[in-house]
Symmetry: C2
Subunit: 155 residues, 2 copies
Amino acid sequence: MANLKQINRITTGGKGLPKSLRRHAVRPTPQRLAILRELAARKIHPDAETIYEQVRQRLPAISLDTVYRNLRLLEARGLIMRVTTVRERARYDADLSPHSHFICSKCSRVLDVPVSALRPIPAEADAFGTVASVHVEFRGLCHQCRTVADGQQGQ
Amino acid sequence: MANLKQINRITTGGKGLPKSLRRHAVRPTPQRLAILRELAARKIHPDAETIYEQVRQRLPAISLDTVYRNLRLLEARGLIMRVTTVRERARYDADLSPHSHFICSKCSRVLDVPVSALRPIPAEADAFGTVASVHVEFRGLCHQCRTVADGQQGQ
DNA sequence: CTTAAAACAGGAATAATTACTATTGTAAAC
DNA sequence: GTTTACAATAGTAATTATTCCTGTTTTAAG
């Protein structure tokens, strides 16, 4: 699946979406389909609560937990993605010089990435509004954790 | 809180930091100085809890709320910055094609920013580890909100 | 010294999210 | 076409990071 046009074509009632879910080893339950359709149909990038309110009109018995559970599952299976970053403790920096961060997904260490490792953000983004701040965040395995993982495959 | 002056003497290493705080219209209280020093001394980009644990060794009576309150204040005054993004409801997207987002700080609408508005992220970031994901987020006023703001100054 | 404002400690409250538990739906085996 | 096993669900309780509230202490100014 992977793109909006495909999903949109599918969500108008065809059998494509259920098939696509099965391909990803996800059972196409009514709740799941409703959530996914709601996400694909709208461009507003809704949050769990908004999806819940909408889906409830069709499936009045659905629970908020089901929405959360399925968003998590669908994200894990690579069928949808988060717009906002991972929700974790806020971290601070006294260094105000322009730079970015690499966050290790295993040890959660935060490394400074100098601007030279990025291209400067162009003014084109101004097309969408008055840009007040830009946040660039890399996630992955840091060298240390990668080395350990290479040696002993698990954990 | 007893003998604050003693504490003040202890936590006040040099006079530079207090002066800098005053320049930003922030009163250089011992707690504040300790928090800021902790942040500046370490490169680990600590979270509130970590700062709290550290500062507590010098100022055992400090409260966690004071740490949070001051981090907020120092950020608002432009003396420190968050490494992670604003902590708000997670939003999802069914469009997995590479693109970025502009989030309006007023109406919190999320607009899609095509990759063409960004330069592709270079492989240089690999110097820090194995990059699994890159997240780019713009924040500011969207056109609609800006127009409204121009017309009627308040709100 | 007195007084007003800012900052504080401690604990209660909030909001988003996740965990738990008993129940229901469903796919496959018989 | 039942039975069986397991995934998914609803409803609610719990958790976690953060903020709010109240009464007190500290600081700065008159």
